[in-house]
Structure formats: structure tokens, C-alpha cells
Amino acid sequence: MRYIRSFGRFWWNFIVGDDWRVAVGIAVALGATSLLTHEGVNAWWLMPPALAVITAGSLWRAISRS
């Protein structure tokens, strides 16, 4: 059990890292882009600024902690 838990923690840290909100933000941004695309809007313009906002938020949290 401990092995499974540490194995899971390793992959969580490897992919998600120390700010899970970034992973959630990426999922939301991709979801919103998908919705718009399926409504007939070619939303290529959404992802870059959304990711910039997500990164800025994560940086702000990191700086606030230091």
C-alpha cells in the first residue's frame, strides 16, 4: 500500500508539480476551447492568453509565499 502511495505521489509530482491549480487551469482552458470549437468558433486565440493568466497566477502565489 505504501509502495502504491509513493508511486502515485511520484507521478503526481512529476506531472502536476507543486501547484495543482495550474493543471486545473489547463483543463478548463482546453475545455473552453473545445466548447467554442464545437459551437463553430475557431478559438485559436484563447489558449495562449489563458495560459499566460494561469502562469501569472501561479507565479503570484509562489512569490507571495516567499
Binding site: F14, I15, V22, L30, M47, A52, T55
Partner: protein, 252 residues
């Protein structure tokens, strides 16, 4: 060679180079103090595991439909790339310690000298496990990037060649330098890798949910430019803030 192909080779090469520099420091620190036999067997064992991962996962991913693959790979690259980019911005802005290979090397040597003798299966177990873990963990990031870059464009060989070239280059440089490659601009390279991972992740992730990028592959350059400008602006803003002075970092 297309724009994306060049960027895939560059991304795999740079990511592999920076991770292999870190692995080399760990291996040198252990090998110099405790001897090379068990250390190199650890390196070989980890290399075999990594090669098997690429050989097994690469062809298996060819069976996945390209749109699904690009969405999954794009999302994973974004999660991974934004971590690299975030850390690189914090380092450049003075809010995170710069990576110092000389300090890591000194610590590895001290720990190797202090560790007790433990022989298993005819091997110095400390040397074997430290070398194995070091190469496996640093290499895992490279494998992930190679598979992600290679599979999303069906160019696994190209990405693997870029990463392989970096391994050879770092090995040769390490043998010639007989020490850690502390003069390699690791933090600048990590910044570039973070930008490439994030840009490819953005490009493929959006394509995976049905977006048609204007200008197709050429818009990848625009995405890279966007994140570069964004990063430069943020770094400049951070440098204007009072930051706590941080000592040299010994972990990635």
C-alpha cells in the same frame, strides 16, 4: 525539414542536454569517490530501463488516433512545460536559487564518502542505487519529452536522435572536462525548454480539441514568440520587486 521538425529536434536536444548534465554530476560524484564498476552498472541498468520505455511506448502510441494523441500529449506537455517555465521565470526574476552544479557535485562527493559499505550481488549498493536513480529520474523527463514530441508528430526517431546527440555530447564533454559541466548555461537552457514545451503543448492541445491554427505550423512560431515576450515582461517585473536573496540550489 519543416519548422516543427527543427523545433522538435531542438527541444529534445536541449531537454536531454540539461538533464544529462545533472545526471553526469551525480554519477561523477559517486564514481570518483567510491569507484566506477558499480556506478557504471547502475548507469547501464537505468539506460536499459529508459530505452525499453521508449521502445515500448513509442510504437504503442502510434495506435492512438492523432487528434486524441495531440490532446493528451498537449495537455501533458502543458502541465510539464508550465512547471519548467514557471521555475525558469522565478530563477531569472531572483525568486528561486540558480542551479549550481559545482555545489551539487561537492554534496554528492561528501555523501558518497560518508555512506557506509553495503555490498549486494557483488556490487557497491550505494554507488549502484545512486547512479541508477540519478540517471533514471533525470532520464525519465527526457523520455517523456521525446515520446511526447515524437508521437504527436509521428517523428519519434527524430526526437530520439536529438536527445541521443545531447547524451553523446554531454558524455564527451564530461570525459574531457573530468568534472561537472558547471559552465553549461543550465538556467538559460531550462528557460528555452520550458518555452518550447509550453508552446508545443498549447499548439497540439488546441489542435486536439479541433482548433485550426491560422498558417498551420507557422503559428507555432507566433506562439513561441508570445510566450517569450510574456516571460520577458514577467521577469522584468519580478526583478523590480525586492526579492529574498537565495543561496545556490542543489536540486533541479
Amino acid at each position: 525539414m519543416s519548422t516543427s521538425a527543427i523545433l522538435i529536434v531542438a527541444g529534445a536536444f536541449l531537454a536531454s542536454a540539461v538533464e544529462m548534465v545533472e545526471a553526469l554530476t551525480i554519477v561523477l560524484g559517486v564514481g570518483v569517490v567510491r569507484g566506477w564498476r558499480s556506478t557504471l552498472i547502475g548507469v547501464a541498468a537505468a539506460s536499459i530501463v529508459l530505452a525499453v520505455l521508449v521502445a515500448a511506448l513509442g510504437p504503442a502510441l502510434k495506435q492512438v488516433p492523432i487528434e486524441t494523441l495531440r490532446l493528451v500529449v498537449g495537455a501533458l506537455l502543458l502541465a510539464f512545460g508550465l512547471q519548467w517555465l514557471r521555475k525558469a521565470i522565478l530563477r531569472s526574476g531572483g525568486f528561486k536559487a540558480l542551479h549550481d552544479e559545482d555545489e551539487v557535485y561537492r554534496q554528492e562527493r561528501d555523501q558518497a564518502a560518508a555512506a557506509g559499505k553495503d555490498e549486494k550481488a557483488g556490487l557497491d549498493w550505494y554507488s549502484f542505487t545512486i547512479a541508477f536513480k540519478g540517471v533514471l529520474l533525470e532520464g525519465l523527463e527526457v523520455v517523456f519529452i521525446v515520446i511526447a514530441f515524437g508521437s504527436a508528430q509521428h517523428r519519434l526517431g527524430l526526437a530520439a536522435a536529438g536527445a541521443g546527440a545531447a547524451v553523446v555530447l554531454v558524455l564527451v564533454a564530461g570525459v574531457l572536462a573530468r568534472g561537472p559541466l558547471s559552465r553549461v548555461p543550465e538556467n538559460t537552457i531550462k528557460f528555452a525548454v520550458g518555452l518550447l514545451l509550453t508552446s508545443f503543448g498549447c499548439f497540439w492541445g488546441a489542435e486536439g480539441v479541433g482548433v485550426d491554427w491560422p498558417g498551420n505550423e507557422l503559428s507555432l512560431l507566433a506562439v513561441i514568440a508570445f510566450f517569450s515576450v510574456f516571460s520577458i515582461i514577467v521577469v522584468r517585473a519580478l526583478r523590480r520587486r525586492p526579492a529574498a536573496l537565495v543561496p545556490a540550489e542543489v536540486k533541479a
